[in-house]
Symmetry: C2
Subunit: 440 residues, 2 copies
């Protein structure tokens, strides 16, 4: 079975190419850029062609994965060449128009499944990701449909099946309205001349959360956001409804019409129903995520911590000296490093321990001890594990020691060379008290 | 020194009454409701009067703490009665108008300090809370100003000093615009007939965050939100600027004018500057706060956990059986309890341990052991602490045992009665291996 991915040299198309190749399928990718295509061929072990029609003709499954603004023309180009009995899919984030065009331009006997994977190419697997399938009623009876759905679900994806129109309406809200409002807020704050950094001092957690979301959105690829707005047939109504609501509430405020204002909020809360309380609870967790981390940091002053850069994933490891405003002072090997809280996240103990094992040099000391022969070394070792990083590297009985004794050599390790002497002293003290004798 | 709080029987006024009383000041509160006043008098140990003017006359510091919509009339009522040399403050969340009225209606020689504490009455202390002071330039030279500022800072508050007008502008954005947008979004979703719960399935974390914030706001006291909108003189411009930006972007989208859309986003990102990246990082923490907790829960299946209800603070303690969708199945004493993730938060190990100590019944077994007399029991105990909840309740040397021995009685405790037998076996086994002898 050959899976052709039109636009499989980049973005989510490339992600699917890699994913399906790893699952053992023959993958054929097409794309305009030959240099990039050759690189992907080498990187993923798939086959590349710069001819979309060639790829369309060969595929048992043909997946169109191109930017929204060229989806229409690519469908018109490749759909007529998909062979009978094959499956034609697209993975664009709008569905009404591609669904219509794929049905219209493909031959009878080609099965069409318009799809919207709700994740980006940085996702490690399909596990817990949402994939929306938007087949027509007739297409739902095609065995391909059940197969794809099952395949996705076995991979851990959450599959939602809705009509293309319903999809576009809900996406017009979930993506379209959300982006629209935050983008409008971004330019409003600019127009009002608000100093964003300074405004954070006024410490309203919900305002800060809003600022953070605006920043998140306006910092992304604006072309993608333009296309999501401009290709959704439902977006006009959604914008208009929102603006009308803003105007209405603004007028209520100008008229100091308290009753209507209260009525409006109450009606919305009624519409949200149980989601009102749930949203409050969830937003609490979001709001306190940051302050909770700060609290934890403050409690860790003077202790050894690990901070992971949230993008580079680089780890800063050292003694936490100070936390003030948004800054963290970390002492790393005699020098002080200043980090911004928002750029790093505090590592859990376990995660830090794993990092240290991989990254830090370890020093050790070996100590031999005599025990009575009938002693269970595993029990001794387990008790000591809680105090030392320790292992038994050798045991011995025989000529050189008393016949009732057994000798065990322990290795105590530490990331800090200068700590070894103190660890050895503590170890010796313990050994004397639990029936062991040091052997020199 | 007498501190009078007009409206000190409720809300933040009552909070300050309690706070200042605890700091040793004589506090006099006034309020219309005599029954409530008498209760507060008893509860806080302050003095109550139902006569605002009486309170204003007696105070060396007079704090007006009444709802926004009656602040004007209360200022006009009490300001003329504040004695010379006293300090008159208000703590309303708008400042331009109260500042003007307090200056106008108080006698010459009364010092005026319009104030906005940025926190609610549920706050435990002033520590890390923001307090905004909005004195005129002349008032900044009054020694009262420095004293109040210092007092607040010693209590840990972050004090911001701005002009009343600047305050109202920034609050018009920080509170006014934020509330306005989310309230408008709430009624938009209602008008569009979006099923909120179902829409969450489409799993866009930023959309969900937005939904949660809308829910948080529309679920609060609508009268307070109405007043914040309606009493801020800057709000009209802010609404208009926002609506204009929405209309502008909507038009750009209708015209499929990609370049202008991109330009708009880029300009906003430029205005945000470094805050763009910072916001992205902070929003990541907010977005992942919930999924991170879910991950942690999934890893804890089969283990003992504590879940704290985020409002009632009730603790559910048991073995985690299953996590699915938004639900948690917990096995508590042979019966299964179903909880919603959004209503509870997972307790940290340490927090759970403290809860258990306070709330669960403990069972124990006492075991006496003979050691050589020169053994350091502290060392033995410390080793065992990592395996057992254990203490030494008695030590003995003397007639009944060998003169080279010492007897120690250990108490091992557990929340699970049926575990004691197994713990005792493990303990006995360890003791035999570390030079101890069980004494029956």
């Amino acid at each position: 079975m050959i899976i052709s991915i039109i636009g499989g040299t980049d973005g989510l198309g490339k992600w699917f190419a890699s994913f399906l190749k790893n699952r053992g399928y023959d993958v054929l990718v097409s794309g305009r850029d030959v240099i990039k295509g050759k690189e992907v061929e080498k990187e993923l072990g798939v086959t590349y062609t710069n001819n979309n029609i060639d790829a369309a003709e060969k595929g048992d499954i043909v997946i169109i994965s191109v930017p929204i603004n060229v989806t229409e023309s690519v469908i018109k180009e490749v759909a007529p060449h998909v062979k009978k009995g094959s499956l034609l899919m697209d993975i664009t984030s709008i569905k009404e128009r591609p669904a219509k065009l794929m049905a219209e331009f493909s031959k009878t006997g080609v099965f069409v499944l318009p799809t919207h994977p709700m994740f980006g190419p940085e996702t490690p697997s399909l596990n817990r990701q949402v994939v929306i399938l938007t087949p027509t009623e007739k297409e739902k009876t095609n065995p391909f449909f059940e197969k794809i759905k099952e395949f996705l679900e076995i991979e851990g994806a959450k599959v939602i099946v809705v009509s293309p129109k319903e999809h576009d309406k809900i996406m017009g809200v979930v993506q379209g309205l959300t982006h629209f409002v935050y983008i409008s807020l971004g330019s409003t704050l600019k127009d009002l001349g608000i100093d964003i950094k300074e405004s954070r001092n006024f410490a309203s957690p919900i305002y800060e959360l809003m600022i953070n979301i605006i920043a998140r959105i306006i910092g992304q690829n604006p072309y993608l956001y333009a296309d999501i707005q401009m290709h959704n047939p439902q977006i006009k109504t959604i914008h208009e409804t929102f603006i009308k609501n803003c105007e209405n509430i603004s007028e209520i405020v100008q008229n100091k019409d308290r009753d209507s204002f209260v009525e409006n909020m109450k009606n919305s809360a009624r519409h949200f129903g149980n989601e009102t309380k749930r949203g409050l609870n969830c937003s609490n967790k979001a709001v306190y995520a940051i302050s909770k981390e700060t609290e934890k940091l403050i409690k860790s002053v003077g202790k050894e911590i690990g901070l992971k850069h949230i993008y580079s994933e680089n780890v800063h490891y050292g003694i936490l000296k100070e936390v003030y405003a948004d800054n963290i002072v970390l002492k790393q090997n005699e020098k002080e490093v200043l980090l911004n809280i928002s750029n790093v996240s505090l590592m859990e103990d376990k995660e830090l321990e794993e990092w240290k094992i991989k990254n830090l040099e370890k020093y050790f000391v070996d100590i031999s001890v005599l025990f009575k022969k009938d002693v269970d070394l595993n029990i001794i070792l387990e008790l000591l594990t809680h105090k030392f990083e320790i292992e038994v590297i050798d045991t011995y009985y025989g000529d050189k020691i008393d016949e009732n004794d057994l000798s065990a050599t322990f290795r105590i390790s530490s990331y800090e060379k200068e700590d070894l002497k103190k660890l050895e002293e503590t170890f010796n003290k313990i050994i004397e008290n639990i029936g062991g004798k040091l052997r020199y």
